[in-house]
């Protein structure tokens, strides 16, 4: 298992940089991972991140469609928040595993 220091905290990460343990996540870590991707986080981003973390904890298989139906953003909005990777970037920043969904 690889380790990486993000925002001053040493966390366990996969070789693609996803957090192994969502409990090690905090907002500073989110901001730093987002910065590496080139995304500046707003309140709306954090609402999406919280939704993803909650759904992941509940054992939901995540998809952009589920986020689109969350009432937080529609799918177009999700692409605007996380350009080039609506699900993989948002999951990475949210500190949850890379979703295995094709939708």
């Amino acid at each position: 298992m690889a380790q990486k220091t993000i925002a001053g905290i040493t966390v366990d990460v996969t070789n693609e940089g996803y957090l192994e343990n969502p409990a090690q996540w905090n907002k500073e870590i989110a901001i730093e991972i987002a910065g590496e991707i080139g995304i500046e986080l707003t309140e709306l981003h954090f609402e999406v991140l919280e939704f993803l973390r909650k759904e992941h904890e509940a054992g939901t298989q995540l998809s952009i469609r589920k986020v689109g139906n969350s009432g937080i953003v529609d799918i177009k909005g999700l692409y605007t928040l996380f350009p080039g990777g609506p699900l993989k970037y948002s999951a990475k920043i949210a500190g949850i595993p890379k979703p295995v969904s094709c939708v």
Binding site: R65, I75, K76, Y79, L87, K88, C102, V103
Partner: protein
Amino acid sequence: MNTETQERPLKKVCIICAKGTIEDVYATLVLANGAVMEGIEVKLFFTFFGLDAITKKQMNKIHTGTVGNPAMRMPGGLPFPSILGILPGVEAGVSAMMKSQMAKLDIPSVDEFLEMITAGGGEVYACKLAMDMFKLEAKDLWDGCSGVLTVGDFYAMCGGENTQIIFT
């Protein structure tokens, strides 16, 4: 000798759909949506029977063929005799079952799927020749369609480094 084998990421996929069955149309839509989600540019070109997928009247009524498909089996894995496939209602029943299985996996209807793809910047086009052949007009097409193209117009969109054309 240059032995460098570094891979460069895919930048654009141009996907052609020429058939109107559930499996052909959904293969196209899943490939397209998956590409958009990875930040890959997508152009979709629907031609011949594939036009059903972007025709308002037909798009949410597509079926899977129950005749001449040896990979189709009964639920549970028993063989599905071809002769059953010709009975009235069987094609509709099988198609409804496939759609319900897909819905369980969070796979949307055709129109919603196309909206997801275009929400991510994917573009959807219809083939001019096939439109003429089936006597279709632009007003018959799904509203999110970006236009009607000749093959030449479509190829003109398929240029650029690391672009692939996929024929489902």
